[in-house]
Point group: D2
Chain length 407, copies 4
């Protein structure tokens, strides 16, 4: 790879990406463009601008954007249409944010004439893969710089030395090492490393960033109604809201009621297992509600097909293949299923759990006439079951007769 | 089908199967053998014997058995090795009991020289299918009688008239109609019908049979540790127990802490949707714990393969295909994966939820040396990630270059 | 089911459906509408009109249509985009025609005010299922009459008696029984029954209806080039043609060169195995060619996903679920993959086989620069393979280290 | 990686691996052990011993073995039980040989105290991945040396210079460059590179190594009968043979009749497409025959499940994951299905194609009584089909009624 001339850096404004910024300038003598996004991580963006300026970035090279609506509308919601869970439990909160950041990095690179992008993910994790696969899928010519895989600033001490040497301001609380590492966006907060590294040890309560401990949540359940249109949430308690507003509101509800805490050991794409504590308050409610509305609006053929491809879909997102033909093909399949996933679900939120307790829809496939215990109104002829069972049994009978001959 | 001469009836001792017993005697003039099983449904079996005798069944034709250990060991546990969930949520508590009952019916038929078996499931539900597919798979010559699909006792009034006419004792509380229908065994209790038929209406609290409402559960969390060997639970809090004892103990814990309530609209095999309230206290804890121990003992290749076939496996059990070659093939695959699923999981039980908070095992694949945020001890070379990403990206780059030519 | 008043009958003009026509008139005293389609079965349609008139059908109730283009464009081609093979070998020639016939039956029923449709398929086969599932999926209120399951004309003798009794003309060659049963359309001819019923016996050569025996095919291979656009064949040897014309032309080529004979024992949806001889001359060439063009235009992620869902897609079509949400969802996935499946394939046809020997496309993903044995031009860095392998191996190493501890 | 002290080299005796041998000695100053296997590639092994001695390998460090029986019995046959085809067409002839070679390399390393293994695969292909994943899965501590990724002998000229410089004898026909590259074993011969690199160009006839051109094959078809037991071929024309003998015999038959030529563009695991010509004469016959016997002995549930997992199974083998838990899990599933795959298939071999024309078995599930066109003997009640269709249609009707409301 020839040396980059102009690099768009995914810049948080924090210490680590500030060091990367300076390292890019000194190592590659290249122009740096910073991109700072509000994905709902709950941090002010203004300081990032000031810090970038302080580090010598030209104003026209500083990009700061609120992309929360795009994030929820074009990434989170499509994923939730699939009821995606990685390894049965994980709502993919980190994974789903990376492709959007890469997309903006590439767009800004094309807009500013940059030939490279850079990110602050380490060489051990999944995020490097997600950033880079997305970048290459969107621009096969782009160069990607991953300083953590290249430099020798591999200890906290060396990092701080480099920062001091280059006049990068260090917040007091960053001098010591954090007891664990955090990533956050509107969908979730993940914590991992350090005090969490031994999966045999309980995670300390102070790890929780945005969800109240269930034990400290309100003693009274709260009822919430979520309305869907074509598979996407569009209203809460009857009030229409934008995608990001809905997720924000659900986060408040879930956070308050202790909902969405997950302590997980998962398999990284790069081959090792890692342990994380994930907080996905709104997403956990949203998954439960989406399943609830699908229960009455989705046919079994459609639902079972979705269930069967879901693990692969989730794995693709986890592994960083959002911009792959197979993810897009699966999305086409999923989206096709959601045409009638319209209606409302009532849930009960209480001390750590969100449970569907009722659901209704003009698009419902539920037929009380067919299922009723009351005397039949003629909708269903029980005698049909006889033939249904006989023909389903036929091959089993032939098998049994055959197998008997060989016992 | 020629008329049956001797029928083995799945007999609960309740009003409905007593009517069936008498109906078989009067309709087919055949000898009836009764089979009453303790599957952990929580009812005394002695009254069933007395009632059968009262209805004229010869003592040698009355079979009463405690099959709880066989149920958990050979049916529940193998199913839980798969983390089986039907339609994402249902733990298959009713489905998994049917094949065992059919197996005993067929064995008793062969032992007593009966040429038919009979069950009390209706023509609208899944249970008729499960009973009969199992029966035919085990004995292709057997006749199966499903009175609900045949007779004209299709209203409560007619049933009661028939009972009175044939001196079948009717408990006082059975004169009126129950507000919903219940099925129970050691794994779960299901309620459906009547007051539950409208899925837009919340289920009334009185539906719950064995789980305390979360709101009424203890205010203090309880910690429990479950130990697994080769995928099956073998001990609770360090105390070794038999399969049925473990499930019984977990039921107590789950029931006490409000764990395992599910309000679901599901797709029946016979084509319509139905709504049920399921209580699976111990099973819900067991699933969470099994996932917890797999997190550290199962490799990603094995785990992802299991995840991908799970929906089909669950569907097979739901639809009644326990004794099918494809279920057995999937079981072989699943069992093969469990050789090292040995270790202990710590869970926190609190007001409706069971969460894994720690897990450990001599068979663990988790490697702190690989994942650590600390400086590397050489276990993992971050530079390898470069090549890994480049080759994973190669096809995406080729795609991007191709697709660009057509924009 | 209440008695039908007006029935649209799938009418071939042959003896069997003429008997059905008359039976409907006499049994149900209902008005009959006939629908006769040219699906490429190679029979004149005019006689069907005359025969219908003779049997008393009003001219406005006789529908005769050439639907070959719709058949190939909307049914055959979409299916071939999937490379669909049932049970690894069968090109679904009969299965794919049924949904279209049902669609027209339902449309004509709505147009003529008929409340029922009827078909001539027996109660043992798949076609009854395909006709009826399609009909119900398109009109849930329609009545379907399947005379073969209802009447008592269950022997050849009774059928002929009924025909004579009702002045239905019987062609001389229909007096005796055919040595096997044939179904044909533009995609294939199937033969089954009678002389073919013992799968241990070779099918006699006279079974072949449209394909030359390979031994009798030309001694000189023929080269053909097929061009695709977005997954569908659009030209042969550079000459653009309509869908039905292309399939007709490929049938000629395949028939001449002995290509597309299949002797198969398959599993019917209704539970038993059956043996058939299938002739699919053009389809066999088309599948080979479509695979050939996908080889260079489809990415591995897309291709492998398609391969993995293909068996289910084929099974859905075989079982009669063309008009099901899951087939439509899979179709959306498949169609999404075909956007760049554009280019040309060269095949060699010779004495029973069609083999791709070359393929090219502006949309090709094949990169000689990457694959070449020549010295690298820098497109690919072999050292990347090191990291790729290391990270793919990581979990296997961790597994091996773990498993060693337990040996 | 620290320097290796003793290396086991997969040694063919040819020029390339001789250069590698010498390069290992000069570059790493390590002791070299050679392993030369007879996998049926059709080359004498004696010259390899002499050449190894000439290059200074101690006699006790030269391992020469005939592993054909193990190859067919433990690798080829298990794979054929799955009807494995990569990307719909490829019989995995190269892929399946690699794990066995790696297994022996690792065993010899443990026996001779070697700390490394080496192979002659390049950095662009799949074989490096297969060799190395297998090696690491069998010994997580082993070092693997892949000279082609390390050295700078990257042109033909440099290689020959190195050979001359180190007195490595060069056969005259190796001075010039071969027009394509060949790999062979008992299952197949693959050719790729050079004259084959442009997939738009027909492969020249001289590429074929072991199969007669169909045009030159005998004008008379040949009939062959293959007998299977539990999924594996055990006899040809009634004569019992060992696994390797059977494959050898089938190779003769296929080669003679022009059977098993495949011209393919496939997707390599390392991300690019490549074009190869594969000759798999016996394997092509074996696949057809195995399908033939499964047609009558395998139930549809078992068969369809096998079909659905086959693509993943084939991909695992292609990608080098033979020794992975997921391949072993799938193998357990597949092997479970083969218990009754016992019987005989008759095939017709003629000018490029092998077609099943008859099959029979004591284990057959085919029931003439059920399928017959003759009047029923009572095995099957056509009226059952009514109920079967009604219940399969129920959800489609409910869907149609729902969807109509929104048109």
């Amino acid at each position: 790879m020839s040396a980059p001339k102009k690099v768009v850096l995914a810049y948080s404004g924090g210490l680590d990406t500030s060091i990367i910024l300076k390292w890019l300038q000194t190592e590659y003598h290249c122009e740096v463009v910073t991109f700072t996004a509000d994905l709902g991580q709950g941090e002010e963006l203004d300081p990032a601008r000031k810090k970038a300026e302080l580090l010598g970035i030209k104003p026209e090279n500083i990009f700061i954007e609120d992309i929360r609506e795009e994030f929820v509308r074009d990434f989170v919601f499509p994923m939730f249409r699939a009821n995606a869970l990685y390894e049965g439990l994980y709502l993919l909160g980190t994974s789903i944010a990376r492709p959007l950041i890469s997309k903006r990095l590439i767009e800004i690179a094309e807009q500013t004439g940059a030939d490279a992008v850079a990110h602050g993910a380490t060489g051990k994790g999944n995020d490097q893969v997600r950033f880079e696969l997305s970048a290459y899928a969107l621009n096969p010519e782009i160069k990607v710089i991953a300083p953590w895989r290249e430099w020798d600033l591999s200890s906290r001490t060396k990092l701080l030395e480099f920062a001091e040497q280059h006049q990068i301001p260090i917040a007091k609380d960053k001098r010591g090492e954090a007891p664990f590492s955090v990533d956050a966006n509107l969908l979730h907060t993940s914590s991992e490393g350090k005090v969490l590294e031994d999966p045999a040890q309980d995670a300390p309560d102070y790890v929780l960033q945005r969800i109240t401990r269930p034990e400290d949540a309100p003693d009274t359940p709260e009822i919430v109604e979520i309305t869907f249109e074509k598979g996407d949430a569009v209203a809460i308690n009857g009030e229409a809201m934008s995608p990001a507003t809905i997720l924000t509101k659900l986060n408040e509800l879930g956070g308050k009621h202790g909902i969405g805490i997950l302590d997980l050991v998962e398999n990284r794409f790069v081959g090792m297992k890692s342990r994380g504590v994930y907080e996905t308050p709104g997403g956990t409610i949203l998954l439960e509600a989406h399943r609830g509305i699908e229960q009455i609006t989705l046919d079994s053929g459609a639902g079972h097909l979705k269930d069967s491809i879901m693990p692969r879909y989730a794995e693709l997102i986890y592994n960083g293949f959002w911009y792959s033909p197979e993810r897009e093909m699966l999305q086409a399949l999923i989206d096709k299923s959601q045409e009638h996933v319209t209606g409302t679900v009532r849930l009960k939120l209480y001390k750590g759990s969100a449970r569907t307790i009722a659901r209704w829809s003009d698009h419902s496939l539920y037929s009380e006439a067919h299922v009723t215990f009351e005397e039949d109104a003629g909708a269903y002829d029980q005698k049909d079951a006889q033939g249904f069972i006989q023909l389903n049994a036929l091959r089993l009978k032939l098998l049994a007769a055959r197998n008997r001959r060989f016992k």
